[in-house]
Symmetry: C2
Subunit: 69 residues, 2 copies
Amino acid sequence: MNTTITVSGMTCGHCVSSVKEELAEVPGVESVSVDLNTGGVSPVIIESTRELTSEEIAAAVEEAGYTVV
Amino acid sequence: MNTTITVSGMTCGHCVSSVKEELAEVPGVESVSVDLNTGGVSPVIIESTRELTSEEIAAAVEEAGYTVV
């Protein structure tokens, strides 16, 4: 299934990689794609084999140093 | 000795880390400090045991994905 969130604070490809890496470590996550809006809010689409909780998503994004908005 | 350059295109701490890492690999470089101006031009101060050529500095910065201006 797909979950779409929006994440603030990402400014470059390195930021995108950090968020992708942390989300990829959440159990059940198969792929993560990010449509970077530099300095703004960026949509992040997460494909997973199970339903993800907003808490575990937020924890992964925060681990990377960014915020779900 | 100290060499100060200005680098464009860095937007976040990840960008700074990339530039620092590449410059640290140049023989003789002892330390690198960056005063990040997000999205603008950032001064980069390189401390080294020998005189560095602008070519080797530019090559390292470009290896990181940024440009000396």
